[in-house]
Protein backbone atom coordinates (compact mmCIF):
# COMPACT_ATOMS: atom_id res chain seq x y z
CA UNK A 1 0.00 0.00 0.00
CA UNK A 2 1.48 3.40 -0.93
CA UNK A 3 2.08 5.71 1.98
CA UNK A 4 -0.06 8.83 2.17
CA UNK A 5 1.71 12.16 2.56
CA UNK A 6 0.68 14.25 5.57
CA UNK A 7 -0.43 17.85 4.94
CA UNK A 8 2.97 19.03 6.22
CA UNK A 9 5.00 16.51 4.21
CA UNK A 10 6.86 19.07 2.08
CA UNK A 11 7.40 21.31 5.11
CA UNK A 12 9.03 18.46 7.03
CA UNK A 13 11.37 17.68 4.15
CA UNK A 14 12.25 21.37 3.71
CA UNK A 15 13.10 21.45 7.43
CA UNK A 16 15.49 18.54 7.11
CA UNK A 17 13.27 15.76 8.44
CA UNK A 18 14.18 12.13 8.02
CA UNK A 19 10.90 10.53 7.01
CA UNK A 20 9.94 6.99 8.00
CA UNK A 21 6.80 4.92 7.43
CA UNK A 22 4.51 5.06 10.46
CA UNK A 23 0.80 4.27 10.81
CA UNK A 24 0.39 4.29 7.03
CA UNK A 25 2.06 7.67 6.55
CA UNK A 26 5.50 9.05 5.92
CA UNK A 27 6.36 10.80 9.16
CA UNK A 28 9.36 12.73 10.50
CA UNK A 29 11.36 10.66 12.98
CA UNK A 30 13.91 13.42 13.55
CA UNK A 31 15.32 16.53 11.91
CA UNK A 32 18.84 17.34 10.80
CA UNK A 33 20.89 20.39 11.68
CA UNK A 34 22.36 21.72 14.90
CA UNK A 35 19.02 21.59 16.73
CA UNK A 36 18.13 18.22 15.24
CA UNK A 37 18.53 14.66 16.50
CA UNK A 38 16.38 12.82 19.02
CA UNK A 39 18.29 13.92 22.12
CA UNK A 40 18.52 17.59 21.08
CA UNK A 41 14.82 17.64 20.16
CA UNK A 42 13.94 15.89 23.40
CA UNK A 43 15.92 18.35 25.52
CA UNK A 44 14.57 21.34 23.60
CA UNK A 45 11.04 20.19 24.44
CA UNK A 46 11.88 19.99 28.14
CA UNK A 47 13.60 23.40 28.09
CA UNK A 48 11.72 25.50 25.55
CA UNK A 49 9.01 24.42 23.07
CA UNK A 50 8.80 21.91 20.22
CA UNK A 51 6.39 21.54 17.35
CA UNK A 52 5.23 17.99 16.60
CA UNK A 53 3.08 17.02 13.64
CA UNK A 54 0.59 14.40 14.80
CA UNK A 55 -1.75 14.64 11.83
CA UNK A 56 -1.66 10.86 11.46
CA UNK A 57 -3.99 10.61 14.44
CA UNK A 58 -7.68 10.21 13.77
CA UNK A 59 -9.92 13.19 14.49
CA UNK A 60 -13.50 12.01 14.83
CA UNK A 61 -16.78 13.60 15.90
CA UNK A 62 -20.15 12.25 17.00
CA UNK A 63 -23.55 13.91 17.02
CA UNK A 64 -27.05 12.56 17.57
CA UNK A 65 -30.22 13.45 15.65
CA UNK A 66 -30.43 17.17 14.81
CA UNK A 67 -26.95 17.76 16.21
CA UNK A 68 -27.85 16.44 19.66
CA UNK A 69 -24.57 16.30 21.62
CA UNK A 70 -26.07 14.71 24.73
CA UNK A 71 -27.41 11.83 22.67
CA UNK A 72 -23.94 11.28 21.20
CA UNK A 73 -22.34 11.34 24.66
CA UNK A 74 -24.79 8.81 25.95
CA UNK A 75 -24.34 6.55 22.93
CA UNK A 76 -20.56 6.60 23.25
CA UNK A 77 -20.83 5.61 26.93
CA UNK A 78 -21.80 2.12 25.77
CA UNK A 79 -18.28 1.69 24.37
CA UNK A 80 -16.05 3.48 26.89
CA UNK A 81 -15.75 3.28 30.71
CA UNK A 82 -15.64 7.07 31.17
CA UNK A 83 -18.37 9.45 32.21
CA UNK A 84 -18.96 11.35 28.97
CA UNK A 85 -22.45 12.70 29.64
CA UNK A 86 -21.12 14.82 32.49
CA UNK A 87 -18.31 16.37 30.43
CA UNK A 88 -19.13 20.05 30.18
CA UNK A 89 -18.34 22.07 27.06
CA UNK A 90 -14.61 22.40 26.46
CA UNK A 91 -13.70 19.60 28.89
CA UNK A 92 -11.64 16.59 27.81
CA UNK A 93 -11.18 13.13 29.21
CA UNK A 94 -8.71 10.30 28.60
CA UNK A 95 -10.63 7.12 27.88
CA UNK A 96 -10.46 3.66 26.34
CA UNK A 97 -12.25 1.73 23.65
CA UNK A 98 -12.63 -1.77 25.08
CA UNK A 99 -13.68 -5.06 23.55
CA UNK A 100 -16.12 -7.55 25.12
CA UNK A 101 -13.27 -9.23 27.00
CA UNK A 102 -12.17 -5.92 28.51
CA UNK A 103 -9.10 -5.70 26.27
CA UNK A 104 -7.98 -2.29 25.04
CA UNK A 105 -8.83 -1.58 21.38
CA UNK A 106 -7.43 1.94 21.66
CA UNK A 107 -6.85 4.77 24.07
CA UNK A 108 -8.24 8.14 23.13
CA UNK A 109 -9.08 11.66 24.23
CA UNK A 110 -12.77 12.57 24.25
CA UNK A 111 -13.86 16.21 24.21
CA UNK A 112 -17.22 17.89 24.44
CA UNK A 113 -16.79 20.70 21.90
CA UNK A 114 -20.30 21.97 22.50
CA UNK A 115 -21.21 21.00 18.96
CA UNK A 116 -20.13 17.36 19.05
CA UNK A 117 -18.39 14.71 21.06
CA UNK A 118 -14.93 14.79 19.52
CA UNK A 119 -12.35 12.02 19.72
CA UNK A 120 -8.66 11.88 18.93
CA UNK A 121 -7.58 8.29 18.35
CA UNK A 122 -4.28 6.59 17.49
CA UNK A 123 -3.28 6.75 13.84
CA UNK A 124 -2.30 3.09 13.59
CA UNK A 125 -5.77 1.83 14.58
CA UNK A 126 -8.03 4.67 13.50
CA UNK A 127 -9.68 2.69 10.71
CA UNK A 128 -10.42 -0.16 13.11
CA UNK A 129 -11.80 2.35 15.61
CA UNK A 130 -14.09 3.84 12.99
CA UNK A 131 -15.35 0.38 12.02
CA UNK A 132 -15.89 -0.52 15.69
CA UNK A 133 -17.77 2.70 16.44
CA UNK A 134 -19.88 2.39 13.31
CA UNK A 135 -20.73 -1.21 14.10
CA UNK A 136 -21.86 -0.54 17.66
CA UNK A 137 -23.38 2.93 17.54
CA UNK A 138 -27.00 3.33 16.42
CA UNK A 139 -27.52 4.59 12.87
CA UNK A 140 -28.99 7.85 14.22
CA UNK A 141 -25.53 8.75 15.61
CA UNK A 142 -23.50 10.50 12.92
CA UNK A 143 -19.77 9.76 12.91
CA UNK A 144 -17.58 12.24 11.07
CA UNK A 145 -13.91 11.68 10.30
CA UNK A 146 -12.17 15.04 9.99
CA UNK A 147 -9.62 13.73 7.53
CA UNK A 148 -8.96 17.25 6.18
CA UNK A 149 -7.77 18.50 9.55
CA UNK A 150 -4.13 18.53 10.53
CA UNK A 151 -3.12 18.16 14.17
CA UNK A 152 -0.10 19.85 15.70
CA UNK A 153 1.30 19.59 19.20
CA UNK A 154 3.24 22.49 20.69
CA UNK A 155 4.91 21.18 23.83
CA UNK A 156 7.26 22.59 26.41
CA UNK A 157 7.53 25.20 29.18
CA UNK A 158 7.55 28.08 26.67
CA UNK A 159 4.63 26.74 24.61
CA UNK A 160 2.04 28.95 26.32
CA UNK A 161 3.96 32.18 25.79
CA UNK A 162 4.61 31.30 22.16
CA UNK A 163 1.02 30.37 21.37
CA UNK A 164 -0.32 33.38 23.25
CA UNK A 165 1.63 35.57 20.82
CA UNK A 166 -0.25 34.12 17.85
CA UNK A 167 -3.55 33.17 19.42
CA UNK A 168 -4.36 35.59 22.24
CA UNK A 169 -6.23 34.01 25.15
CA UNK A 170 -5.24 30.43 24.29
CA UNK A 171 -2.90 30.59 27.29
CA UNK A 172 -5.91 30.96 29.59
CA UNK A 173 -6.85 27.32 28.99
CA UNK A 174 -5.92 24.93 31.78
CA UNK A 175 -4.82 21.30 31.42
CA UNK A 176 -7.45 19.10 29.77
CA UNK A 177 -9.64 21.94 28.60
CA UNK A 178 -10.06 23.23 25.08
CA UNK A 179 -11.80 25.80 22.95
CA UNK A 180 -12.33 27.33 19.54
CA UNK A 181 -9.92 30.08 18.50
CA UNK A 182 -9.19 32.03 15.36
CA UNK A 183 -5.84 32.59 13.66
CA UNK A 184 -6.34 34.81 10.61
CA UNK A 185 -8.83 32.96 8.48
CA UNK A 186 -8.20 29.63 10.16
CA UNK A 187 -10.44 28.25 12.89
CA UNK A 188 -8.35 26.36 15.45
CA UNK A 189 -9.54 23.91 18.05
CA UNK A 190 -6.93 24.29 20.79
CA UNK A 191 -6.57 21.82 23.66
CA UNK A 192 -4.21 22.19 26.61
CA UNK A 193 -2.92 18.64 26.51
CA UNK A 194 -0.15 16.51 25.09
CA UNK A 195 1.97 13.41 25.24
CA UNK A 196 5.28 14.68 26.62
CA UNK A 197 4.57 15.39 30.29
CA UNK A 198 5.21 19.08 29.63
CA UNK A 199 2.73 21.90 29.53
CA UNK A 200 1.53 22.37 26.00
CA UNK A 201 -1.20 22.36 23.42
CA UNK A 202 -2.68 20.25 20.68
CA UNK A 203 -4.09 22.27 17.84
CA UNK A 204 -6.50 21.00 15.20
CA UNK A 205 -6.35 23.14 12.07
CA UNK A 206 -7.69 22.76 8.52
CA UNK A 207 -4.97 21.26 6.32
CA UNK A 208 -4.86 24.24 3.94
CA UNK A 209 -3.67 26.51 6.78
CA UNK A 210 -1.29 24.18 8.58
CA UNK A 211 1.89 25.08 6.72
CA UNK A 212 1.47 28.81 7.35
CA UNK A 213 0.69 28.11 11.00
CA UNK A 214 3.71 25.81 11.40
CA UNK A 215 5.90 28.54 9.89
CA UNK A 216 4.42 31.13 12.22
CA UNK A 217 5.22 28.92 15.21
CA UNK A 218 8.75 27.97 14.15
CA UNK A 219 9.66 31.54 13.17
CA UNK A 220 9.69 32.06 16.94
CA UNK A 221 13.23 31.32 18.17
CA UNK A 222 11.81 29.43 21.13
CA UNK A 223 10.29 26.77 18.85
CA UNK A 224 12.01 23.94 16.94
CA UNK A 225 10.37 21.06 15.14
CA UNK A 226 10.62 17.65 16.82
CA UNK A 227 9.96 14.21 15.40
CA UNK A 228 8.50 10.88 16.43
CA UNK A 229 11.76 9.78 18.06
CA UNK A 230 11.68 12.56 20.65
CA UNK A 231 7.94 12.11 21.07
CA UNK A 232 8.58 8.51 22.08
CA UNK A 233 11.41 9.22 24.53
CA UNK A 234 9.41 12.09 26.07
CA UNK A 235 6.27 10.05 26.60
CA UNK A 236 8.31 7.18 28.06
CA UNK A 237 9.85 9.53 30.64
CA UNK A 238 6.34 10.84 31.34
CA UNK A 239 5.19 7.26 32.03
CA UNK A 240 2.51 7.46 29.35
CA UNK A 241 1.63 4.16 27.66
CA UNK A 242 1.88 3.80 23.88
CA UNK A 243 -0.89 1.86 22.19
CA UNK A 244 0.35 -1.24 20.36
CA UNK A 245 3.24 -1.55 22.80
CA UNK A 246 2.17 -0.89 26.40
CA UNK A 247 -1.51 -1.38 25.63
CA UNK A 248 -3.20 -3.91 23.39
CA UNK A 249 -6.27 -6.07 23.02
CA UNK A 250 -4.61 -8.45 25.49
CA UNK A 251 -4.22 -5.69 28.09
CA UNK A 252 -6.76 -5.09 30.80
CA UNK A 253 -7.06 -1.43 31.89
CA UNK A 254 -6.66 -2.42 35.55
CA UNK A 255 -3.45 -4.24 34.76
CA UNK A 256 -2.33 -1.23 32.71
CA UNK A 257 -2.70 1.07 35.72
CA UNK A 258 -5.52 3.01 34.06
CA UNK A 259 -8.11 2.70 36.81
CA UNK A 260 -8.55 6.47 36.66
CA UNK A 261 -10.13 5.99 33.23
CA UNK A 262 -12.89 3.93 34.84
CA UNK A 263 -15.11 6.80 36.01
CA UNK A 264 -16.36 6.22 39.55
CA UNK A 265 -19.97 6.88 38.55
CA UNK A 266 -19.75 4.10 35.97
CA UNK A 267 -18.11 1.29 37.90
CA UNK A 268 -21.23 -0.29 39.31
CA UNK A 269 -22.99 -2.75 37.01
CA UNK A 270 -26.17 -0.94 35.91
CA UNK A 271 -29.43 -2.89 36.37
CA UNK A 272 -30.91 -1.65 33.11
CA UNK A 273 -28.44 -3.49 30.89
CA UNK A 274 -26.56 -0.32 29.89
CA UNK A 275 -23.13 -1.63 30.90
CA UNK A 276 -20.11 -0.42 28.92
CA UNK A 277 -18.49 -2.94 26.65
CA UNK A 278 -16.07 -5.06 28.68
CA UNK A 279 -17.42 -3.83 32.02
CA UNK A 280 -17.93 -7.23 33.59
CA UNK A 281 -14.41 -8.61 33.02
CA UNK A 282 -12.76 -5.26 33.74
CA UNK A 283 -14.62 -4.75 37.01
CA UNK A 284 -13.89 -8.35 37.98
CA UNK A 285 -10.17 -7.56 37.58
CA UNK A 286 -10.75 -4.35 39.48
CA UNK A 287 -12.26 -6.26 42.42
CA UNK A 288 -9.87 -9.19 42.55
CA UNK A 289 -6.77 -7.30 41.46
CA UNK A 290 -4.83 -8.03 38.27
CA UNK A 291 -2.23 -10.78 37.84
CA UNK A 292 0.29 -8.34 36.38
CA UNK A 293 0.77 -4.61 36.55
CA UNK A 294 2.40 -2.05 34.29
CA UNK A 295 5.37 -0.61 36.15
CA UNK A 296 8.41 1.54 35.55
CA UNK A 297 11.96 0.18 35.72
CA UNK A 298 15.16 2.16 36.23
CA UNK A 299 18.17 0.28 34.88
CA UNK A 300 21.68 0.35 36.23
CA UNK A 301 24.45 1.03 33.75
CA UNK A 302 23.94 2.43 30.27
CA UNK A 303 22.68 -0.52 28.24
CA UNK A 304 18.98 -0.05 27.38
CA UNK A 305 16.43 -2.86 27.46
CA UNK A 306 13.94 -2.83 24.61
CA UNK A 307 10.40 -4.01 24.05
CA UNK A 308 10.15 -7.78 24.43
CA UNK A 309 13.02 -8.18 26.90
CA UNK A 310 12.16 -10.60 29.70
CA UNK A 311 12.12 -9.54 33.34
CA UNK A 312 13.38 -11.89 36.04
CA UNK A 313 13.26 -12.20 39.82
CA UNK A 314 16.13 -14.61 40.40
CA UNK A 315 15.61 -17.51 38.02
CA UNK A 316 11.90 -16.91 37.59
CA UNK A 317 10.53 -14.95 34.67
CA UNK A 318 8.07 -12.46 36.16
CA UNK A 319 7.35 -10.12 33.28
CA UNK A 320 8.14 -8.51 29.95
CA UNK A 321 9.33 -5.07 28.89
CA UNK A 322 6.79 -3.29 26.67
CA UNK A 323 8.73 -0.04 26.05
CA UNK A 324 12.32 0.72 26.80
CA UNK A 325 15.01 3.15 25.88
CA UNK A 326 17.50 5.68 27.07
CA UNK A 327 16.19 8.64 29.03
CA UNK A 328 17.95 11.80 27.84
CA UNK A 329 16.68 13.75 30.84
CA UNK A 330 17.88 11.22 33.43
CA UNK A 331 20.94 10.05 31.51
CA UNK A 332 20.11 6.39 32.09
CA UNK A 333 18.01 3.63 30.54
CA UNK A 334 14.39 3.32 31.64
CA UNK A 335 11.62 0.91 30.70
CA UNK A 336 7.98 0.07 31.14
CA UNK A 337 7.10 -3.54 31.82
CA UNK A 338 4.25 -5.76 32.87
CA UNK A 339 5.30 -7.84 35.89
CA UNK A 340 3.53 -10.18 38.28
CA UNK A 341 1.95 -8.14 41.07
CA UNK A 342 4.12 -9.78 43.75
CA UNK A 343 7.13 -8.10 42.12
CA UNK A 344 5.50 -4.79 41.21
CA UNK A 345 6.18 -2.89 44.43
CA UNK A 346 8.27 0.25 44.18
CA UNK A 347 11.92 -0.45 44.96
CA UNK A 348 11.80 -4.17 44.10
CA UNK A 349 15.10 -5.30 42.60
CA UNK A 350 14.63 -7.23 39.35
CA UNK A 351 16.77 -8.17 36.36
CA UNK A 352 16.15 -7.69 32.65
CA UNK A 353 17.73 -10.07 30.17
CA UNK A 354 19.33 -8.41 27.15
CA UNK A 355 21.37 -10.49 24.70
CA UNK A 356 22.14 -13.08 27.35
CA UNK A 357 23.17 -10.54 29.98
CA UNK A 358 21.19 -9.75 33.12
CA UNK A 359 20.79 -6.02 33.74
CA UNK A 360 19.88 -4.97 37.31
CA UNK A 361 16.76 -2.81 37.44
CA UNK A 362 14.58 -1.36 40.19
CA UNK A 363 10.82 -0.91 40.10
CA UNK A 364 10.29 2.86 39.97
CA UNK A 365 7.18 4.97 40.28
CA UNK A 366 6.06 6.70 37.12
CA UNK A 367 6.32 9.29 35.73
CA UNK A 368 10.10 8.97 35.61
CA UNK A 369 10.26 12.74 35.00
CA UNK A 370 7.60 14.82 36.80
CA UNK A 371 4.65 16.14 34.78
CA UNK A 372 4.43 19.91 34.45
CA UNK A 373 0.84 20.37 33.40
CA UNK A 374 -0.73 23.81 33.80
CA UNK A 375 -3.67 23.59 36.15
CA UNK A 376 -4.21 27.29 36.70
CA UNK A 377 -2.22 29.91 38.57
Amino acid sequence: MPLDPLPLDAWHRANGARMVPFAGYEMPIQYSGTNGGIVAEHNWTRDSASLFDVSHMGQLGLVGPDGDVAAAAQALEALVPGDISQLSEGRMRYSLLLNEAGGVLDDLIITNTGKSIAMVVNGAVKWDDIAHLREHLADEITLTHYADNALLALQGPKAADVLEGLVPDAGALIFMTSGLFQWGEAALWVSRSGYTGEDGFEIAIPAQHVEAFANALTSDDRVNPAGLGARDSLRLEAGLPLYGHDLSEDTNPVSAGLKFALSKSRREMPADGSAWMGQEPVMAAFETGPRQRRIGLSLEGRMPAREGAEVFAGDVKVGTVTSGGFSPTLGQPIAMAYVDVEHAKKGTALEIEVRGKRLPAAVTSMPFVPHKYYRGS
Binding site: I29, I38, V39, A40, G229, M303, P304, R306, F326
Partner: protein
Protein backbone atom coordinates in the same frame (compact mmCIF):
# COMPACT_ATOMS: atom_id res chain seq x y z
CA UNK B 1 47.23 2.49 5.87
CA UNK B 2 44.51 1.13 3.60
CA UNK B 3 40.91 1.52 4.70
CA UNK B 4 38.11 -0.67 3.41
CA UNK B 5 34.32 -0.50 3.81
CA UNK B 6 31.48 -2.99 3.97
CA UNK B 7 27.96 -2.64 2.59
CA UNK B 8 26.80 -2.76 6.24
CA UNK B 9 28.65 0.54 6.82
CA UNK B 10 31.61 -0.71 8.84
CA UNK B 11 35.11 0.56 8.07
CA UNK B 12 38.28 -1.45 8.61
CA UNK B 13 41.83 -0.11 8.72
CA UNK B 14 44.67 -2.50 7.98
CA UNK B 15 47.98 -2.02 9.73
CA UNK B 16 50.34 -4.94 9.30
CA UNK B 17 48.61 -8.03 10.66
CA UNK B 18 46.10 -6.04 12.74
CA UNK B 19 42.83 -4.39 11.77
CA UNK B 20 40.79 -1.64 13.45
CA UNK B 21 37.02 -1.63 12.96
CA UNK B 22 34.36 1.04 13.40
CA UNK B 23 31.18 2.31 11.79
CA UNK B 24 31.09 4.99 9.13
CA UNK B 25 29.96 8.59 9.39
CA UNK B 26 26.99 7.64 7.24
CA UNK B 27 26.05 4.89 9.71
CA UNK B 28 26.24 7.12 12.80
CA UNK B 29 24.19 9.74 10.99
CA UNK B 30 21.50 7.14 10.30
CA UNK B 31 21.54 5.79 13.85
CA UNK B 32 21.36 9.14 15.60
CA UNK B 33 22.49 9.74 19.17
CA UNK B 34 24.47 6.74 20.39
CA UNK B 35 23.94 5.98 24.07
CA UNK B 36 25.70 2.64 24.48
CA UNK B 37 28.09 0.38 22.59
CA UNK B 38 28.40 -3.29 23.44
CA UNK B 39 31.84 -4.46 22.31
CA UNK B 40 33.00 -8.02 21.79
CA UNK B 41 35.24 -9.52 24.48
CA UNK B 42 38.97 -9.65 23.85
CA UNK B 43 39.71 -13.11 22.49
CA UNK B 44 36.30 -13.51 20.87
CA UNK B 45 36.46 -15.27 17.51
CA UNK B 46 34.58 -13.33 14.84
CA UNK B 47 33.31 -14.66 11.52
CA UNK B 48 33.11 -12.43 8.49
CA UNK B 49 29.56 -11.07 8.34
CA UNK B 50 28.69 -12.37 11.81
CA UNK B 51 27.59 -10.34 14.83
CA UNK B 52 30.47 -8.40 16.36
CA UNK B 53 29.03 -5.52 18.39
CA UNK B 54 25.76 -3.81 19.19
CA UNK B 55 25.23 -0.10 19.03
CA UNK B 56 22.31 1.40 20.92
CA UNK B 57 20.79 4.71 19.92
CA UNK B 58 18.01 6.39 21.89
CA UNK B 59 15.56 4.67 19.63
CA UNK B 60 16.88 1.20 18.84
CA UNK B 61 19.63 -1.40 19.02
CA UNK B 62 21.56 -2.16 15.82
CA UNK B 63 24.03 -4.92 15.06
CA UNK B 64 27.55 -4.26 13.87
CA UNK B 65 29.05 -7.07 11.81
CA UNK B 66 32.62 -8.32 11.51
CA UNK B 67 34.06 -7.16 8.17
CA UNK B 68 36.46 -10.11 8.15
CA UNK B 69 37.24 -13.27 10.10
CA UNK B 70 39.64 -12.96 13.02
CA UNK B 71 40.10 -12.66 16.76
CA UNK B 72 39.38 -9.57 18.87
CA UNK B 73 42.56 -8.15 20.43
CA UNK B 74 41.31 -4.91 21.97
CA UNK B 75 38.10 -2.96 22.57
CA UNK B 76 37.88 0.83 22.61
CA UNK B 77 37.46 1.47 26.34
CA UNK B 78 36.75 5.15 25.69
CA UNK B 79 33.32 4.23 24.34
CA UNK B 80 32.28 2.96 27.74
CA UNK B 81 32.32 6.45 29.26
CA UNK B 82 31.62 8.34 26.09
CA UNK B 83 29.54 6.40 23.58
CA UNK B 84 28.82 9.70 21.81
CA UNK B 85 32.36 9.48 20.37
CA UNK B 86 30.76 7.31 17.72
CA UNK B 87 28.71 10.37 16.68
CA UNK B 88 31.42 12.99 17.01
CA UNK B 89 34.36 11.01 15.62
CA UNK B 90 33.02 7.86 13.99
CA UNK B 91 36.00 7.18 11.76
CA UNK B 92 38.75 8.02 14.26
CA UNK B 93 38.33 8.24 18.07
CA UNK B 94 35.03 6.35 17.92
CA UNK B 95 36.60 3.09 16.68
CA UNK B 96 35.04 -0.09 18.10
CA UNK B 97 37.65 -2.85 18.32
CA UNK B 98 40.92 -4.23 16.94
CA UNK B 99 41.24 -7.73 15.55
CA UNK B 100 43.62 -10.11 13.84
CA UNK B 101 43.31 -10.74 10.12
CA UNK B 102 42.34 -14.38 9.70
CA UNK B 103 42.36 -14.46 5.93
CA UNK B 104 43.75 -11.56 3.89
CA UNK B 105 41.83 -12.68 0.81
CA UNK B 106 38.60 -11.57 2.54
CA UNK B 107 39.74 -7.97 2.14
CA UNK B 108 39.41 -8.27 -1.61
CA UNK B 109 35.62 -8.34 -1.40
CA UNK B 110 35.45 -5.02 0.46
CA UNK B 111 35.04 -1.52 -0.97
CA UNK B 112 37.66 1.22 -1.05
CA UNK B 113 36.63 4.76 -0.09
CA UNK B 114 35.72 5.70 -3.64
CA UNK B 115 33.52 2.64 -4.09
CA UNK B 116 31.90 3.19 -0.70
CA UNK B 117 31.12 6.80 -1.51
CA UNK B 118 29.47 5.74 -4.73
CA UNK B 119 27.58 3.07 -2.77
CA UNK B 120 26.08 5.51 -0.23
CA UNK B 121 25.36 8.10 -2.92
CA UNK B 122 23.16 5.43 -4.50
CA UNK B 123 21.17 4.77 -1.30
Amino acid sequence: MPRYFTDEHEWIDIEGDSATVGITDYAQEQLGDIVFVELPDVGAALDKGGDAAVVESVKAASDVYAPITGEVTEGNGALEDEPALVNTSPEEDGWFFRMTIGDTSELEGLMDDKAYKAFIDGL
